[in-house]
């Protein structure tokens, strides 16, 4: 019984279900981030088993037993971990969000030079209007950092300090 139950789970592990709808992608990205946050030890193979078990759950009810076993197995190493170790690992791996500047309908062409420039100008206008460290301006900062090459930003920053920046700040 156990052997028969494991065989399809192994096969299903390697076969990824086709995911084409963008809505599904957005939904699935979030649980993956949740998994990465909850599982501290990325190197532990048991963590991988948990991830695969979670993926298998919505498809087959028989595999829930395997999922329960893996959950039980994960509880023990969690208890064994020291708080200091967990804190150290939390500090070592900074959390990252998989998001970037959105597409702008003002710049639908392949040439994104003006898109980068406009985002930069928008950020500095926001800073001029709302002051440094305004939370509303962080969005624009992320946008222009994603779109603009580093050398361009350095050159523009230098021009702003010298007062020779050609944009409408």
């Amino acid at each position: 019984m156990a052997a028969e139950a494991k065989a399809p789970s192994l096969a299903e592990e390697y076969s990824l279900p086709p995911q084409e709808a963008p809505v599904e992608k957005a939904v699935e990205d979030k649980p993956q981030e949740a998994e990465s946050i909850s599982v501290t030890n990325d190197e532990t193979p048991q963590a991988d088993e948990t991830a695969t078990a979670v993926e298998v759950n919505p498809e087959t009810s028989e595999v829930q037993e395997v999922a329960d076993k893996s959950e039980v197995e994960d509880t023990n190493p969690a208890a064994e971990e020291t708080n200091e170790t967990a804190e150290e690992e939390a500090e070592e791996k900074p959390e990252i969000k998989i998001e970037t500047a959105p597409a702008d309908f003002r710049f639908p062409t392949t040439n994104q030079t003006r898109h980068c420039f406009t985002r930069y100008v928008e950020y500095h206008r926001c800073v001029a209007a709302k002051g440094e460290d305004a939370p509303e301006c962080d969005k624009f900062a992320k946008y222009y950092r994603s779109l603009c090459p580093g050398e361009w930003v350095e050159r523009w920053n230098e021009q702003r300090e010298n007062g020779t920046f050609p944009g409408p700040l």
């Binding site: 995911q19 992608k25 990205d29 993956q32 998994e35 990465s36 990325d42 991830a51 070592e92 791996k93 900074p94 990252i96 969000k97 998989i98 998001e99 970037t100 500047a101 959105p102 597409a103 309908f105 710049f107 639908p108 062409t109 392949t110 040439n111 994104q112 030079t113 980068c116 992320k142 950092r145 994603s146 779109l147 603009c148 090459p149 580093g150 050398e151 930003v153 350095e154 920053n157």
Partner: protein, 260 residues
């Protein structure tokens, strides 16, 4: 029997993701864009062969019958309305069958207005590339940036391709919509990865955009495709597609390394 089994194993194990000696066809597609390009090529090739056979037959027939001994008196046909109409409309229909899928593919490749999940900047230099992942910056100074140089011709490890390997690969997640921004620092370059169906020019003073959605994990090779000087042939591109989780781990590790 043996040849069939070998062929099946070979086809399932090794996909053509790098240029091979004497290669005639395209590399295997890793993105829907490249798959569309290959399909369009096959469609056009069908019409191409039909036209080739038809025109060749007419040419050979004309040469054959233009013979003084067999046909001493040449035909004096000057004009024919019916054949004129036929040979005007029929090629137009053929061109229509070629143009419709071609334009459909061209405009579907232009995925500029799709919101991407990740932005990667490829900055061309003579003769290497700099890649920037700036989605994870919190200031202008902090940046996940690395240079990608070719591995010299006399310094490859066992199994590495000659003049195609680099020391630092571009790591991208599979099944994720990416935005590639391509710009040079000195002279025109071109960022081209055949398996992804991408060829994007790097023009000085401009940042060009292209979209990629890699569908399978693997390593894909490309080369600079805009003549950029003496070492133009020694500026390869290597893209490694991994799972989203592995990509997140890679970014975290890179940020740690950059910080220290």
């Amino acid at each position: 029997m043996i040849l069939r089994s070998l062929e099946c194993r070979f086809l399932t194990i090794a996909l053509c993701d790098a240029a091979e000696p004497w290669q005639l066809g395209s590399q295997d597609a890793a993105t829907p864009m490249m798959q569309g390009i290959i399909d369009l090529h096959h469609d056009i090739f069908f019409f191409l062969i039909l036209i080739l056979v038809f025109v060749s037959r007419m040419l050979v027939r004309a040469l054959w019958h233009f013979n003084e001994q067999t046909n001493p008196i040449p035909q004096r046909i000057v004009h024919g309305t019916t054949i004129e109409i036929i040979r005007t409309i029929f090629p137009s229909v053929i061109l229509l069958f070629i143009a419709i899928p071609s334009f459909a593919l061209l405009y579907s490749m232009d995925g500029v207005l799709v919101d991407p999940a990740i932005t990667i900047k490829a900055i061309g230099h003579q003769w290497y590339r700099t890649y920037e992942y700036s989605d994870y910056n919190s200031s202008d100074e902090q940046s996940l940036t690395f240079d990608s140089y070719t591995i010299p011709e006399d310094d490859p490890e066992l199994g590495q391709s000659r003049l195609l390997e680099v020391d630092n690969r571009v790591v991208v997640p599979a099944k994720t919509h990416l935005r590639m921004i391509v710009t040079p620092a000195d002279v025109p370059h071109s960022w081209a990865v055949p398996s992804s169906g991408v060829k994007c020019d790097a023009v000085p003073g401009r940042s060009n955009l292209t979209s990629i959605s890699v569908q399978r994990e693997g390593v894909y090779y490309g080369q600079c495709s805009e003549i950029c000087g003496t070492n133009h042939a020694f500026t390869p591109i290597v893209v490694e597609a991994v799972t989203l989780k592995d990509y997140a781990d890679w970014v975290s590790n890179q940020l740690i390394l950059q910080t220290n």
